[in-house]
């Protein structure tokens, strides 16, 4: 008891009993919240998904196990097992003996080795002493030398003994192994037999709900070695940009989407489902395995997050958003700037690695988006990277206006500008007036002045044009014209209301056309309200006469045909358009606008003075110039004087990486954290941002309204989003080798010339184009399918043919291969494209037939007769009905490749589905493509293979001269006068 101890009767502030009660309450509370925290951790959504996945995987694997069990060769297994037992019994006797022997040898070896090592040590010592003595120049080294020699001998003897024992031991071991190897061989046989079963059993063991797994995944214990764990891939080829450092990205998506890269879960809902394009994406065998490329490279989102909202899932549409809200409390996060890309736009991300490519197999949205950008000429105003950057230097998307005054009149032009779709509903020309931000009365008044000024200047700048005239005086007939339009191939590019085309919905069928991509040429249902007979005749006869760069080819029309088609097309008018009033400019508004623009150049007072001195035409031209520059008409149309005018649109080369905060959402009701929603809305309704805003003319959005459908805008937005800062390493981007380069060049040209309007290219699993084929019930009536074309025809023949298509190949086909007027370069590009795509071994190889002896030729002639080839393939007599004819044999030697002919003769339909050519050597088993073929009896012992080869060789020796396309005439000779003597010497 220390001094100062208070008396016991003194009252205390706190009562220990009460404190204990509080302590009890507090402790229980802490226990409860701790359990609560553990439960929360155990119930984290990704853990729940993984447990569910494990259940699913167990069930799926158990089903597979049953199948595997059934499929296993039980008898063989039993036999092997029995053999193993027998061998093991026999072995045990033999091995016992050997083991005893080995033991004896080993014992002996130990002693020998020990002795050898001791003696060796002594020898080393003697060696050392000897060396020291020599170095010190000791005179008497004799003793030392003798000792060394003696030791050396001893060691050599022991070394030999040691070697003997070692070899004996090794031999005994080898004998033992030999005996045992039989068992192991049987063992591996058995393992091979039961591999699937064992693997499945192992997989089930990892996922099934057994005691071990329960313990491993139990709450609070699951930090040790859980089977429910974060699945992540570290992507060394993909970086996250942390502003001072680029760090490999870590994707954890597969923590919840566990089965994304595994086949067999296609029918399960998310997040358990297999990737929908496993063969192409995510699958281990695909070109984009998930372990290597991850998920966020295409889908974006927050890669390191394993929570639905934090991973920044983005719904496809409002319906899905509502569904997610109910299911996952979905909300757009204002924290996250790299939200996932909605599923329908994901394909745009292909651009990250396939930056140069124009067409990708099995990527319809990418392909449609790329074509839409090209067709609508987005690249005219906006700078893109890759393909479009190059395209912008090559062609403008709209027609040239340098001669337009000869084609349309001023009133038509004004009405057209005022509302292009009122003339042609399907036009690609966007609306600049009467859209979201300029439909109020004042803007309309201003718009009419603008239309008046622009059309005035365009007409004034237009040069004189003399249309071509038909050589003979012919009178056109509309009925004949109608037939011709449907027949010669106009409908490959143009829509005509009289020819109704029902297209298949399956992209793999020839005739399919992506509904998002508009027809290549303008619809031909209103021409009478636009152009004159003289102009149209000239255009049809030779489009390049009016416009050098046009994609419209010459259809090889006679004068009569030209007149027929012209008369037919001009009968089609648009009376509603004709009845529309011509927009009339208001004088006062025009004057105000002139002053408005002049004030930019001079003081207001001078501007007024200048205005008073200007004539009407001067005002119109002045305004026209300012407005063409303002709206950028020159981005799509060639207009004289604007050749070097600047790009007006925002650069889009890295638009997909643009900070969301840098998009002005203004009053538009879309999620303000969504880059894709903004871009989509911008494309769909470009001028919407000015609604509810007070902006003067210069500040208003000027991107015109294209009237895109939702699907079109989605595809375009996908492409725009696809262009982003490069975060992919060079090793991971798609390689563009020489072959790929040729294919890409081909795709670019094909898109520009619309070859795919008529021909289906590439391969029958993923045909590219062939849109016109929808018109033909019998596909063989249409333009030929060009699958395997690169291997089929000789490159130099194709070159000549493309340069000049005036040669008949398929007499029965009414649709015409037009003359495109391709340059040598372009022609080469196409020839190389086919050859590269079909991996033709060489452009210049002449792989034709073997020379035949006379007797072989006779046999071949007999075979041809027997097979009846000439019923179709004979040369057509002049005036005969071509409907049953086929390409004649004399031409084959100049046109086809011998290697290609073999598979063609075996099974023509597999190369060109729907061909009229029958399979003349049918399979023994009609259902099995690989079964042997039945030969024609009586020839070459009925060996089909030999017969086919014979026919092939024969065809290359078929009598008659091959027709070739007439060669192009050389350009007219000019007398070159060298500018300088140096230039002359340089030659």
């Amino acid at each position: 008891m220390a001094a100062g101890q208070p008396p016991n009767n003194k009252e205390t502030v706190y009562n220990s009993r009460v404190l204990s009660k509080w302590f009890a309450i507090a402790s229980i509370l802490l226990l409860v919240v701790t359990i609560w925290a553990a439960i929360q951790d155990y119930a984290r959504p990704w853990k729940v998904y993984q447990r569910q996945t494990q259940k699913i995987a167990t069930a799926v694997n158990e089903r597979k196990l049953l199948e595997a069990d059934k499929a296993m060769n039980k008898q063989q297994l039993e036999k092997i097992e029995k053999d193993i037992v027998g061998i093991v019994r026999k072995q045990s006797e033999v091995t016992k003996e050997i083991d005893a022997k080995i033991a004896a040898i080993e014992a002996q070896r130990y002693g020998v080795t020990k002795r050898y090592q001791t003696e060796k040590g002594k020898l080393d010592e003697a060696h050392y002493k000897l060396e020291v003595a020599i170095k010190k120049r000791v005179d008497n080294i004799k003793d030392l030398m003798a000792q060394y020699k003696k030791d050396e001998k001893e060691v050599a003897k022991l070394a030999r003994a040691e070697e003997r024992v070692r070899l004996a031991s090794e031999k005994a071991q080898a004998d033992r192994k030999d005996i045992l190897s039989k068992e192991s061989e049987l063992d591996s046989q058995m393992k091979a037999l039961t591999r699937t079963r064992d693997q499945l059993n192992k997989a089930i063991g990892n996922t099934e709900l057994n005691l071990v797994n329960i313990a491993r995944n139990a709450p609070l214990l699951d930090f040790i070695s859980p089977t429910v764990k974060i699945n992540q891939v570290i992507l060394n080829g993909l970086y996250d940009d942390y502003f001072f450092n680029k760090v490999p990205r870590v994707d954890r998506c597969m923590t919840c989407h566990v089965n994304a890269n595994m086949a067999g879960y296609e029918d399960f809902p998310q997040p358990f489902a297999t990737h929908s394009k496993l063969h192409l994406i995510a699958g281990p065998e695909s070109p984009h395995p998930a372990e290597k490329v991850g998920c966020t490279v295409c889908h974006a989102g927050v890669p390191q997050s394993a929570d639905f909202n934090n991973a920044a899932h983005t719904p496809r549409d409002p319906v899905q958003a509502a569904e997610w809200e109910a299911k996952y409390h979905f909300h757009y996060s204002h924290h996250i700037k790299t939200a996932m890309i909605p599923l329908q736009m994901t394909e745009g991300k292909c651009i990250q690695c396939h930056a140069k490519e124009v067409v990708l197999e099995d990527a319809p949205t990418f392909n449609a988006g790329m074509r839409l950008v090209e067709r609508y000429g987005c690249y005219g105003c906006h700078k893109f990277a890759g393909h479009f950057e190059k395209l912008a230097t090559e062609k403008k998307s709209g027609p040239s206006l340098t001669l337009v005054a000869s084609k349309v009149d001023a009133d038509w032009l004004k009405k057209w500008l005022w509302d292009p779709k009122s003339y042609r509903p399907s036009t690609l020309m966007p609306a600049f007036w009467q859209v979201h931000n300029n439909s109020d009365e004042a803007s309309l008044e201003r718009g009419r002045v603008e239309v008046d000024a622009i059309s005035h200047l365009i007409m004034a700048k237009s040069k004189k044009y003399e249309p071509l005239q038909l050589a003979s005086k012919v009178v056109g007939d509309a009925a004949r014209g109608k037939t011709l339009v449907a027949q010669v191939g106009c409908i490959g590019c143009h829509a005509v209301e009289d020819v109704v085309v029902t297209r298949p919905t399956n992209p793999k069928e020839p005739g399919y056309k992506d509904p998002r991509v508009p027809m290549f040429g303008p619809e031909l249902n209103q021409l009478g309200s636009k152009v004159s007979y003289e102009w149209l005749v000239s255009w049809l006869k030779e489009p390049k006469h009016y416009w050098e760069q046009t994609a419209m080819p010459s259809m090889k029309l006679t004068d009569q045909e030209t007149a027929d088609i012209a008369v037919y097309l001009l009968e089609k008018r648009n009376p509603e358009f004709e009845a529309l009033p011509v927009p009339v400019a208001n004088e006062a508004v025009r004057d105000d606008m002139v002053v408005e623009f002049l004030v930019g150049q001079m003081p207001t007072r001078d501007a007024r003075v200048k205005l008073a001195s200007m004539s009407l035409e001067e005002k119109q031209s002045f305004l026209g110039d300012k407005l063409i520059s303002h709206y950028g008409c020159y981005a799509c149309h060639a207009i004289e004087g604007y050749e070097n005018a600047p790009n007006l649109g925002a650069e889009l080369t890295v638009e997909g990486s643009k900070e969301v905060t840098k998009f002005a959402f203004d009053n538009v009701e879309i999620p303000h954290t969504s880059r894709d929603a903004w871009i989509y809305t911008k494309i769909r309704t470009p001028r919407i941002w000015d609604v509810g805003k007070k902006r003067d003319f210069q500040a208003k959005t000027r991107m015109p309204h294209f009237g895109f459908t939702s699907e079109q805008a989605t595809a375009l937005a996908a492409i725009v989003i696809g262009y982003e800062n490069k975060n992919v390493s060079d090793e991971m981007t798609a390689k563009v080798d020489a072959r790929k380069e040729q294919i890409i060049a081909g795709h670019r040209l094909i898109n520009q010339k619309n070859c795919i309007g008529c021909h289906a290219l590439e391969n029958k699993e993923h045909p590219l184009g062939g849109e016109i084929l929808a018109h033909y019930a019998d596909k063989s009536e249409g333009p030929p399918l060009l699958y395997t074309e690169g291997r089929k025809v000789q490159a130099d023949w194709l070159f000549k043919y493309l340069k000049n298509t005036n040669i008949m190949i398929r007499p029965w086909v009414k649709v015409r291969m037009p003359v495109y007027g391709l340059s040598d370069n372009q022609t080469t590009t196409i020839v190389k494209y086919f050859s590269a795509y079909d991996q033709s071994p060489s452009l210049f190889a002449s792989r034709q037939g073997n020379a035949l002896s006379d007797s072989e030729i006779r046999q071949a002639e007999g075979l041809v007769k027997e097979l009846g080839c000439l019923t179709c393939h004979a040369v057509l007599a002049p005036g005969a009905d071509p409907s049953g004819a086929a390409p004649h044999f004399a031409n084959i030697k100049a046109r086809l490749n011998g290697d290609w002919l073999i598979p063609w003769l075996e099974n023509p339909n597999s190369i060109m589905p729907g061909t009229r050519m029958p399979a003349l050597w049918p399979n023994e088993d009609p259902l099995d493509e690989k079964s042997a073929r039945i030969g024609v009896p009586g020839y070459l012992n009925g060996d089909a293979k030999k017969q086919i080869e014979l026919i092939r060789d024969y065809l290359f020796q078929y009598p008659g001269k091959a027709e070739l396309p007439p060669p192009e005439p050389l350009p007219p000779k000019t007398v070159a006068v060298p500018a300088t003597p140096a230039a002359a010497a340089g030659r």
């Binding site: 502030v13 706190y14 802490l30 925290a37 001072f244």
Partner: protein, 359 residues
């Protein structure tokens, strides 16, 4: 209801909000006998909770009020309120007791014992356990969000200090960053350290009282409640993107534009008053501001020492008084500057950007 929201939005304007806070402070310190009554304070608390609950129906208000980040602010507001009330209530009761010559409440309790063990240590342990449980529960309910990696190249639309520094950030509106960011916070710390050395008055040690320490309480409370807590509240709920002011029911529009045409005192004097343009000599240009500042800091203290604070001056002596009055004047300069800004768009009293010196 919309008109009510508009009224609240209007009243929350910094000028009115701050003036209101000052006036309220004066009333609180005057009529504490009324509002500290348990019935009164209970009614006010309940009404405030009901009003808050009703306000949550407004999406703009709810968005900020329910942000997980802002939970500490609500805890702060109600806990500061509670403890302030507790101090005032006990002070009032003590004053009454002492007026009757009775021992105050703390005195009554001080007869009892508090053992280190079990009483002190045990109750500390209980508090620790309870608080740990509270923190665990809080972190389970409100999970910390995972955001994008910070981007050094991008400033977020709302750049706010941590909540406990929002009062300082508000000062930044009125003062040069040097003053608001370095000098004033430094003086707050220095002042807090120095305070026990100025304060010689032994009254109020170990017990609550109002009467015996009225002015000390008044000045200290003004600095803490009005200039610190109220400004944190303002900064949290009424400063949005661009540090622009938004009423509690207003949408935080990041494109809000506010005219900011602030001018310096020198411009008011030379340009507006004399209409002769700014003198080129810096000292001449800023002479008015410098004179005013010097007057403020040198004339007011002796003046007060002779008049209002005569008694205090005598008690404290010259050195203590001078140091104390300088701190008080600097504290008072904040509301003064605020009002100058609101009434005259005054930017700086002395503005010498050439040497990064602005007052």
């Amino acid at each position: 209801m919309e008109w009510l929201k508009d009224v609240v939005n209007f009243l929350s304007n910094p000028t009115i909000f701050f003036t209101g806070a000052v006036v309220l402070w004066v009333l609180i310190m005057k009529y504490y006998r009324i509002w500290t009554a348990p019935k009164f304070i209970k009614t006010v608390t309940i009404l405030s909770v009901i009003a808050l609950g009703a306000a949550l129906f407004d999406p703009n208000f709810a968005k900020e009020a329910l942000k997980p980040d802002n939970v500490p602010i609500w805890i702060m507001i109600y806990s500061v309120g509670f403890f302030f009330w507790l101090a005032m209530r006990r002070g009032l009761l003590n004053d009454d007791l002492m007026a009757e010559g009775l021992p105050n409440l703390e005195k009554q309790e001080s007869d009892k014992r508090v053992y280190t063990w079990p009483d002190l240590v045990y109750s500390e342990l209980i508090c620790m356990v309870l608080f740990t449980a509270f923190l665990v529960g809080w972190s389970v309910i409100l999970k910390a969000p995972l955001e994008d990696p910070a981007n050094a190249g991008v400033t977020p639309a709302i750049a706010k200090a941590p909540w406990y520094f929002l009062g300082l950030q508000e000062i930044l509106v009125y003062y040069d960053p040097w003053m608001a960011g370095v000098i004033l916070p430094g003086l707050i710390v220095v002042g807090l350290i120095a305070m026990p050395y100025f304060d010689m008055n032994p009254k109020g040690n170990g017990y609550y009282t109002i009467k015996e320490r009225f002015w000390a309480l008044w000045v200290w409370g003004f600095g803490f409640v009005v200039l610190w807590i109220a400004l944190i509240f303002l900064g949290t709920f009424m400063r949005g993107p661009g540090w622009n002011f938004f009423g509690p029911f207003e949408y935080w529009d990041s494109h809000k534009v506010v005219a900011l045409a602030n001018i310096n005192l020198s411009e008011i004097v030379w340009v507006q008053l004399f209409n002769i343009g700014l003198p080129s000599n810096i000292l001449v240009r800023e002479s008015v501001g410098i004179i005013l500042t010097v007057l403020y800091m040198s004339v007011i203290p002796p003046l007060l020492a002779k008049t209002f604070l005569k008694k205090l001056y005598e008690e404290m002596g010259l050195v203590r008084y001078s140091l104390m009055i300088v701190l008080v004047l600097i504290m008072a300069s904040l509301p003064i500057k605020m009002y100058l800004r609101w009434s005259f768009n005054l930017k700086y009293i002395v503005s010498i950007p050439e040497y990064m010196f602005n007052l």
